[in-house]
């Protein structure tokens, strides 16, 4: 079976998830990051965010999945690189969707993608550039 040829402009099927306090708590459990901004609703209400917010890196998992759909399941493991910026927090109840697009395919086969996550209201919450070899 031949590998699908990736081309500039290829887009991954979007990946969506609803952020919930349960998911935030699950990430706190596996990361041991119990910063009250994530897990304490009372603390969160008093901050500029008005509520708890999700760990940015947990929501970024959606971008990882979108990029994986383009490059392949093992793309990070051979000199893969990802650079992300968190633009806006996500709160419990937000539905977020990640999309990714191939921006460049280099001569040696390296694939460069751009991905982003946005809320249903169109607000972009994070962006990244990712690169890796299809494996």
């Amino acid at each position: 079976m031949t590998k699908k040829q990736v081309q500039v402009g290829d887009r991954a099927e979007p990946v969506s998830l609803v952020v919930t306090q349960e998911r935030i708590n699950a990430y706190s459990k596996i990361s041991n990051d119990y910063n009250p901004i994530h897990v304490d609703p009372e603390f969160g209400r008093k901050t500029e965010f008005g509520s708890t917010i999700a760990h940015g890196v947990s929501v970024a998992g959606l971008m990882f999945r979108a990029v994986t759909r383009l490059i392949g399941p093992a793309w990070p493991y051979q000199n893969g690189r990802l650079n992300m910026t968190f633009l806006s927090p996500t709160r419990p109840g937000d539905r977020v969707t990640a999309t990714a697009e191939v921006k460049e395919v280099r001569e040696d086969g390296l694939i460069v993608c751009e991905a982003s996550c946005q809320r249903d209201d169109g607000t972009k919450i994070m962006v990244c550039q990712a690169q890796g070899y299809p494996v």
């Binding site: 998830l17 349960e22 998911r23 699950a26 990430y27 459990k29 596996i30 990361s31 041991n32 990051d33 910063n35 009250p36 901004i37 603390f43 901050t47 760990h55 940015g56 890196v57 947990s58 970024a60 998992g61 959606l62 990882f64 999945r65 994986t68 759909r69 399941p73 093992a74 793309w75 990070p76 493991y77 051979q78 000199n79 893969g80 690189r81 990802l82 650079n83 992300m84 910026t85 968190f86 927090p89």
Partner: protein, 138 residues
Amino acid sequence: MSEPTQNFDDLVVGTVYPPVEYRMTAEQVGIWVEAFEDDSVPAASGGEAPLVPAALTSLYILDAVLKAYPNRPKGNVHAKQEFVWYRPVRVGEALYTEVIVADKWIKRGRRYVQTETRTSNAAGQLVATGRMTSIFAR
């Protein structure tokens, strides 16, 4: 005697914290896959331990950073993160992450701290590097 604070003014650029050991468990991967519906994880094969999803790189990096900054202010925000991977990580594998205070600056009234991490395996091979930009609450 109270612990010294690690607010923005207390951090010294260039400080290198000793490596922190970490082993990812199958339970952690399982919680992640279920809670976040991650379908991107390569399947285990050939009797080897399963690969750790790259999305969980932040677990061993954050663990080391949180241990380097145990007295950090509450309410810090993670603004940016870069990862570079050099080799895969498997469940149960021993990892050692070094944390470096790389830079700090104030911009538009916000206190930015850049923290770099270097993670190696038990053989001393570089596994991943990270660069984390945080906004410190104090």
